[in-house]
Symmetry: C2
Subunit: 410 residues, 2 copies
């Protein structure tokens, strides 16, 4: 029984014979040549040969130039590549990525290939357990303006975010090792602020510290951070490759959740003609590589991804038919409390509401920023309109937020 | 004295105030906020602030929707990020890549940033020294149809390529660790074939074996390959990240040239609206990360890159004003002997002519394939037309090649 990984491509071409093109891919990226092989050799090579599963040509009558395309599905035998994401990607889209207008739009790995990947170590349920919250979406806030700030500035900012009732706080992904807030000191400082906040709020909190540095030092840096008290990590996956995430998440010593940042993802997914679609790039591959939480642009905020694409990312992270833990979806960028009804409509409970400016930019301050989100989440879960909930006593934070940023009810 | 790395973006937008947008990038990707800072704080933060160097708006009269764009240059203070390519890319294009139609089209690192990178260990001159060829372009050939073949098949194929007079032979980039041709056995077998060929040709030959596997094992695998006799490595850089290449090339124990394969590059560079332009992706960053040879699609063959873009890749690899060794340009894909005049017109001597099908598919066989290229190179250097040279005695290989594939004189 041979396993196959199945790639789906969208190929735009005004004239191509797409069936011939598909056959060329299936042969060219596997055995190299086929029709000219002697029969005995064919029998021997058959198990290495890629198969064209389908060619779905879209050629509307009167199509303008550039509109004709085909979706092509090719099955690649597992036996051709090692059990790692670089080998898989190089096989299915290495050379092919450069061959005209072609985009990788879907990817289904075989069970055998997937079996080499433990996937998320904590996943959605594990992260919920760590913060002790089962019944509602989680709330994450993001450090803002941290470059050039010292430890006391960070501690103060952390504490104010934490007081508002957030469940997770993440570093800014552009904060690297630096003399003002070096990794271990930063972890110690922020975790101290977390404990202090817990005395006031009673709430557990994960701090995802940005894991950076030379590739060969990532594991050691992660251990240092954990040794210093870090209870989560943030990682710019695409800057290092999926395999770096996989190796971190597969290491039992890295015993904290890893949040995958989508940094650089926009270089891959937005073009209709080139690149790798977001549900593969930020969905399937992030989960396979072991991201416990995955950040991606939302369809609501400032950095926009179309809603259907966004829902496909969500589905890839949560698909129950995949034998890996779920990766917590974290739609991000430009999120304010008035968007919570839309987020919960689309994601239900299985979401981390994530905000930066929507917390720090709150008219009544950072603490009120967190509170406003928690009030928006509670109201939405209770089936209330935000405007109505905001009028209730004790909901001044929510009121101020929707006055400032508005509301979009689902 | 603060150093700055300078990124140039092309931003397409039908309505945007590009000057405002540029300011937003310069502030947002560095200090986070600026105008609202107190003056004392501004003085302190000034050294962390990004600077808008220029905003060049292209807005032709009567421009159709989608045609309006600006080229925006931003200077990022070195002090904001660590001296590694992931930190640089995450800073300048991490979040920004997802912010609408924006493409990274150029990147100039500061001397200070560059000083952390030894660059190519051999470079163009070092590779020439290893093969003992100073006066002509080099010739590389590529294994074809290697998946599913055993060691004796590879040895035979290697030997035939070598006999034709090639200077370098590279693995197929989709050949991973496998039971039929495992890394060390493959190296031993191919290097034996190289020695045997040398007895016939008198010629030194580099064999770039494909370096694959888990990220943390790349260094160990490279050492194993070298221990087994490998005198060059091939590496799918973009599947692992530039930093993986940098760490390999910076290690004194990896004392053989590294050829960078452009696998996956087409997911980044071809869109006019998104991604990273080829001269950055396959030019500047490959050289900075230490590629001794860099493969990229040619403007001549089957996988096409526009010529001006291609020349910009070449310039980035060879630019004498950059204080790093040059990276040998290897324009690739669909190259046959009849294209040699174009290649030498565009690259002069500083090029590796690289062919797969153009060697193996030669009507008179693989050995004649190599010979035809060498004859085409010699003729072009001597100022002869290929058709004339092919008519000379002893040039049957070249004659058969141009009969099969034609000639494009420069």
């Amino acid at each position: 029984m041979i396993g196959y990984c199945i790639a789906t491509y969208r190929s735009h071409d005004d004239k191509a014979d797409f069936h011939k093109k598909a056959q060329g891919i299936a042969v060219g990226l596997t055995v190299g040549s086929w029709t000219e092989l002697p029969e005995a050799k064919k029998a021997e090579m058959e198990k290495h040969l890629g198969k064209v599963l389908s060619v779905d040509v879209h050629e509307p009558e009167g199509a303008a130039p550039g509109e004709r395309y085909a979706d092509i599905r090719i099955a690649y035998p597992d036996v051709n590549f090692s059990r790692d994401i670089p080998a898989l990607l190089v096989t299915i889209f290495g050379k092919l990525s450069m061959d005209g207008r072609i985009k990788l739009i879907d990817l289904d790995v075989s069970n055998e290939f997937r079996s080499a990947f433990p996937g998320p170590k904590f996943g959605l349920e594990g992260v919920r357990k760590l913060v002790g919250v089962q019944e509602r979406p989680l709330l994450m806030s993001i450090f803002k303006s941290v470059i050039g700030h010292d430890l006391s500035g960070l501690e103060e900012q952390f504490y104010r975010q934490a007081l508002g009732g957030v469940d997770l706080i993440k570093d800014d992904e552009i904060l690297f090792e630096n003399p003002l807030t070096p990794l271990e000191k930063r972890v110690e400082t922020c975790m101290r602020a977390a404990r202090k906040a817990k005395e006031a709020t009673g709430q557990e909190l994960l701090y995802a510290v940005n894991l950076t540095g030379p590739t060969s030092q990532l594991n050691a840096n992660a251990r240092k951070a954990i040794q210093a008290g870090a209870n989560a990590l943030l990682f710019n996956v695409l800057a290092y490759g999926y395999d770096a995430l996989h190796e971190l998440s597969a290491d039992p010593a890295i015993n904290v959740p890893i949040a995958a940042h989508p940094s650089l993802a926009g270089a891959f997914y937005p073009s209709p003609h080139y690149g790798i679609a977001a549900p593969v790039l930020l969905g399937k591959l992030m989960r396979l590589a072991g991201a416990d939480l995955t950040l991606f642009p939302s369809p609501y905020g400032s950095v926009v991804m179309p809603r259907d694409e966004n829902m496909a990312v969500r589905d890839a992270l949560l698909d129950p038919s995949v034998s890996l833990r779920k990766s917590f979806p974290v739609p991000s960028a430009g999120i304010h409390p008035g968007l919570v009804p839309l987020i919960l409509r689309d994601f239900g409970n299985d979401v981390v509401v994530n905000a930066g400016g929507g917390v720090h930019g709150h008219p009544l301050g950072t603490e009120a920023g967190g509170q406003a989100f928690r009030q928006a989440i509670d109201a939405t879960l209770a089936g209330q309109k935000l405007a109505e909930a905001a009028a209730l006593p004790g909901h001044e934070a929510l009121q101020a937020a929707i006055t400032a940023w508005g509301v979009k009810e689902a």
